[in-house]
Homo-oligomer: 472 residues x 2
């Protein structure tokens, strides 16, 4: 941690980045939060964020600030930050940009430690906004206030009930999200909530005047609630530091990254969005290979591979045993596996013989291992028998029918081996929903199609290959 | 229709295929159905199928057949087909393979018109099964019984309440599914139900001793409830006829196809599954290009492109206008569009000027058209203004925030233009669910990620290019 603190104290890239607070603790676990720009009006951000903080069960004391209201959503309202009769750890700011520097002055006087500036209207809108942003930075730096944003969708720490963003996502889980697009973060967080997985943190970076992706990657590498870091970036704030930080952190926790602006059209759109300098896509590709970042191509892959990596240890090698109740899904999984360079090794003769003796005659003892109409227990049987095969490094269990007890059977199978088991469950209507949700409770990643499950296995394999290559 | 009937009377490929019933009407709208092998035991297929038929509100009279029960699920049970005191249009058969030829004899005597043989244990298991299958075919052909299967997951016609399959899918909709894997059909049907879209028919082909994909494609081309035909195939039954039928039908209705066994490993798995002769993948690719079939790569694409094609007319050309509330999603959509060969034309200056006059200053008047924090009505405004631009052939509306009223606004916009509007709605938690379901009610295809929405537009464009190329 010493290295970590030293690095953070460095002033980088001229005036834009600075560090004078040793940790980001006050951002994620503040003892008190002032919401500046709290609103009585439903639909306004200042209202929605207050409601989300309340409904998420925020462990901090909440102080809505609004000079025109006495009470909002049952909470006493304060006319200004300095009228709050308590110390304020963190400020969440949703007032118009022109008022933000003044608010920051008040926060500085009050001794606020961290500010999440959600308001837009800064660098992204031109010269006048640039001036406001400069003022904001100057005041914050002088006072030692750590800043997220401005022009961002806020932060969420469900483990502390701190939903200073939208929509409301409460479920605690293992995925930390860092994003240059608030919507991308919200989408991943919503999926994680819906599937019963949850998130550890979500931070929308906005204009990154202070806290950037490197600070957060380092912080999350030490965060006991985070098992995987999922990132959406359009450009990196500091290339050299990014490489250094990711090279070190990716050995400890998987980092999965989606980069916007891969193509010329995408880059053009990006320049309007975050004004990031894109650089050539091949450069980012090289950075990922060098640092062990698992690079993905789509939003769904970002979620899928983060989910698999959060629950499972990486497969040691490329051999996958596919166990299925559906021949068709087995074929689709095989096609995808071959296309992505995975291997589908044939089971050994003695294992086939053993399994053939206990399984019904219609089962196809090959890879894919087609159980046809079957029970969940037979998947367990096959995985346990095949786990000792050195050619097999991971399992894909495909449930193509409404098979009950799948989650428990796979969980028992997983407890018997350290080779990862990924599930595709589909075609099962209500039972599918129940089983997939149970699986996520039991730490088994489950996907809605055989192709997505295979892509998740390949994503995990990439990190494994990186870790092994470096140690050899 | 004359050509159609004549074709069906031809005996093709030796003994395997035959035609002597002019239409498949008795399969999809039978006046009475005997379920042979109905069971009292929950979990058994003979029980689940009977329950699904009852719960789907089957319009046919149902006759469970089981010599050992008097009543199942409240219905009087008959000891055999011939004891049913009524004519039997269709038989659904779930008894063990060895008993099937005997049952077919009884069906023949009873004058049954069509049989869905769900039982497995025929050609797919070896010599003995081959013999049973030969017997089955011989009896059925002599009696003029149309057969689906054997070794299949049954059929579904929600427009008639005929769910002779599993799981229970009741929602009526525009997608017809033909599949060589029951699970693939079930997955697509479940997704269609879950998203409020529904299916027109679903047929699992099984061993295809009689009715094959060509018969069904022709039938669905005339079916008023079917707007798009989604197919999963491992091999085609009759290549020449397949080309002829698809060339003709694809001009009338979109045909979307996923083929299993593209790779060597996939082909090996396929030979165990349906014993289809795969042929080289490039051959099927050429067939698709020749016939106008929209070929897809994954199960989700099969559903996504069928969904878009069911609701919308094809875009005339490659230009897409992306309208978004999220810069990040706009970039991801742009990246995908460029990768797939779509175009993202810059809006004309006069349109920008007009829209600039009425939209807030933070909107980015470009393509992607980034509305940032916005209302649903502004999407409508942009689409209506840009619809006359000849460079724009389709729209992608991305809702990256929980924006209410999205479905109605897009529906109004769609009524004002014949250029298709595809939606990606995400990051909106509960509001997202409500809006996406409303959209499907209103005939607007909505996707859970920007990339999937772009892939759907490209799928529709492929058919459009085929239709235009041929007419030029």
């Amino acid at each position: 941690m010493l290295v970590h603190i030293t690095e953070r104290c460095t002033v980088r890239r001229g005036a834009k980045l600075y560090m004078n607070s040793p940790t980001l603790e006050r951002l994620f676990q503040p003892s008190s939060v002032a919401l500046i720009g709290a609103s009585k009006e439903e639909g306004k951000l200042g209202h929605e964020i207050l409601r989300n903080l309340i409904e998420a069960g925020c462990q901090a004391t909440l102080y809505p600030v609004n000079p025109k209201a006495e009470q909002i959503l049952g909470l006493k309202t304060y006319p200004s930050v300095d009228s709050i009769p308590d110390k304020v750890d963190m400020a969440v700011i949703v007032v118009p940009a022109s008022a933000v520097p003044g608010i920051m002055e008040q926060c500085a006087k009050k001794g606020v430690g961290a500010a999440v500036v959600i308001s837009g209207g800064f660098r992204e809108v031109g010269t006048q906004g640039e001036r406001l942003e400069r003022d904001l930075v100057q005041i914050a730096r002088a006072a030692g206030i750590r800043v997220i944003g401005p022009n961002c969708q806020g932060i969420n720490n469900p483990h502390f009930g701190l939903c200073a963003t939208w929509p409301l996502v409460k479920r605690k889980g293992p995925i930390a999200i860092i994003t240059q697009s608030g919507s991308v973060g919200a989408a991943i967080a919503c999926w994680a909530e819906e599937e019963g997985i949850g998130i550890s943190k979500c931070v929308a970076l906005g204009n990154r005047v202070d806290v950037n992706e490197c600070d957060l990657i380092e912080y999350f590498s030490e965060d006991p609630n985070t098992r995987v870091i999922a990132i959406y970036l359009e450009g990196v704030a500091d290339g050299q530091r990014f490489i250094k930080v990711c090279s070190s952190v990716s050995r400890k926790k998987p980092i999965v990254a989606l980069k916007g602006g891969r193509t010329l059209i995408g880059m053009k759109a990006m320049e309007s969005h975050t004004k990031s300098l894109a650089g050539r896509d091949e450069v980012f590709d090289a950075v990922c290979r060098k640092t062990g970042i698992i690079r993905v191509d789509t939003l769904e892959q970002l979620f899928d591979i983060a989910k698999a990596s959060a629950f499972l240890s990486e497969p040691k090698d490329a051999g996958v045993l596919i166990v299925t109740s559906s021949g068709g899904f087995g074929i689709l999984a095989s096609d995808t596996a071959e296309r992505l360079g995975l291997k589908i090794p044939e089971p050994k003769e003695d294992a086939k013989k053993k399994l053939g003796a206990v399984l019904p005659s219609q089962c196809i003892l090959s890879n894919p291992f087609d159980l046809t109409m079957t029970t969940a227990e037979r998947y367990e049987l096959v995985v346990k028998e095949m786990a000792s095969d050195p050619e097999i490094s991971s399992f894909l269990a495909i449930f193509g029918d409404p098979i009950s007890g799948a989650a428990e059977a796979i969980s028992r199978a997983q407890r018997s081996t350290d080779k990862p088991i990924v599930v595709a469950y589909l075609g099962g209507s209500d039972i599918e929903k129940i089983e997939r949700s149970k699986m996520h409770e039991l730490g088994i990643p489950s996907f809605p199609s055989p192709e997505r499950a295979i892509v998740a296995i390949q994503g995990m394999l990439k990190r494994s290959q990186y870790l092994h290559a470096d140690h050899s």
